[in-house]
Amino acid sequence: MQTSVDTLVVGGGVVGTSIAYGLARAGERVVLLDEGDDAYRAARGNFGLVWVQGKGLGNPDYARWTRRAATAWDRFAGLLMEDTGVDVELRQIGGMTMALDEDELVRKAADLGALRASLGGDYPFEILDGSAVRRLIPQAGPEVLGAVFCPEDGHVSPLRLLRALLEGFRRNGGALAAGSRVRHIEPSGGGFLAHLVGGGTHAAARIVLAAGLGNRELAPMVGLSAPVVPNRGQILVSERLRPFLSHPTLYVRQTGEGVVQIGDSKEDVGFDDTTSIDQLSRIADRAVRCFPLLSQVNVVRSWGALRVMTPDGFPIYQASTAFPGAFVVTCHSGITLAPVHAHALTSWMRGGPEPDEIRPFKAERFNA
């Protein structure tokens, strides 16, 4: 039996480490339980966008929460740098979604217009025509008819972010228990015991479930629910190139070290995180139409990774009423939301007010 700490965080992905880092920074004693390398690690396969545009269609609260995070990113990156010396390669000078056909652009403009109206006019985006896109990104091809541009969009290195969060967590006294797969959670004496596969138990007054797809099984053990399912995305990675792409786009971005990352697919294929030729060729084709110079670039790697999706695609942030001290957190956008997960969310978990934006994100909405 371990000594009891303040909080156990289950899940060492970008959501779990953001929360663990925030709690440790606030002076809590935290143990982070991370599964083995055979886990489905969305945090190691994602695209790295800090993205506002299009988030929260039909759900203004989600748009507000996303923007709160995006506008906090610059300070957050600075804090991580101060705490750990890791540069997460944040570039946030606006991002684009390229449109290759007129209808697509008209539809996107209408959607974002409606979103802007639902937010009382406060939602920054522009619709650019093809020549405006090429003024910003001269390498955009002639087939690009236009783009949605949002000045709050950007990107980071997701792997550097994960490393920085873990390092920051450790430097603030946090303990990482790697290779710890939680088998069973037992509410006990007002706190919680997390029993691991293969033996061993951790004890804490509070427990935060941030286990991605694993939350589905863990949440009911503490009176919560997380009906999440996998959704596959595939990514291509190129050889390193001199910088040519100044702005991130929804499907193509150039990393701080020169690699071009190309996505994405959205596939309902269960727990299959392999790649498929048909999706990868579709992804490559779209990228080359947006940026013809990519046609001569070598691809060095590709991978599939599983997104963690709720039925409506929006997050779940919920405190257990049956077992006070237990929380479940699941979302699709752990990179974008990292700053609010580390701060606003952990303040709430520690007894502060619940952020207004997350009040609607309870699992009951799926019990129609």
């Binding site: 001199r242 110079l293 001569q296």
Partner: protein, 85 residues
């Protein structure tokens, strides 16, 4: 040809081996820090032996057989797409 100088090598061997035999010790400089690099794994995995072959950068020299008339250049940093159009 290596960086413009003619080089006689035995046929049938990997380019990386031929270049090392010819005394080349810096195959490339890295894109991020500019550090010198040379072959490490000799089996196509480590991507340390990248050179420019016949105008195409980022080629794994351990995976390419030497050919008559090959023009090889030591690579400095990341590939410059603008320059190879």
């Amino acid at each position: 040809m290596l960086d413009g100088d003619p080089l006689r090598v035995e046929a049938g061997q990997p380019l990386a081996a031929a270049l090392m035999k010819a005394g080349l010790s810096v195959f490339r400089r890295t894109p991020v820090s500019g550090a010198p690099r040379a072959p490490f794994c000799m089996m196509g995995v480590c991507f340390e032996c990248l050179v420019e072959i016949d105008g195409v950068p980022n080629q794994q020299s351990c995976m390419v057989e030497v050919r008559e008339g090959m023009r090889v250049r030591v690579q400095d940093g990341a590939r410059n797409l603008e320059a190879t159009r």
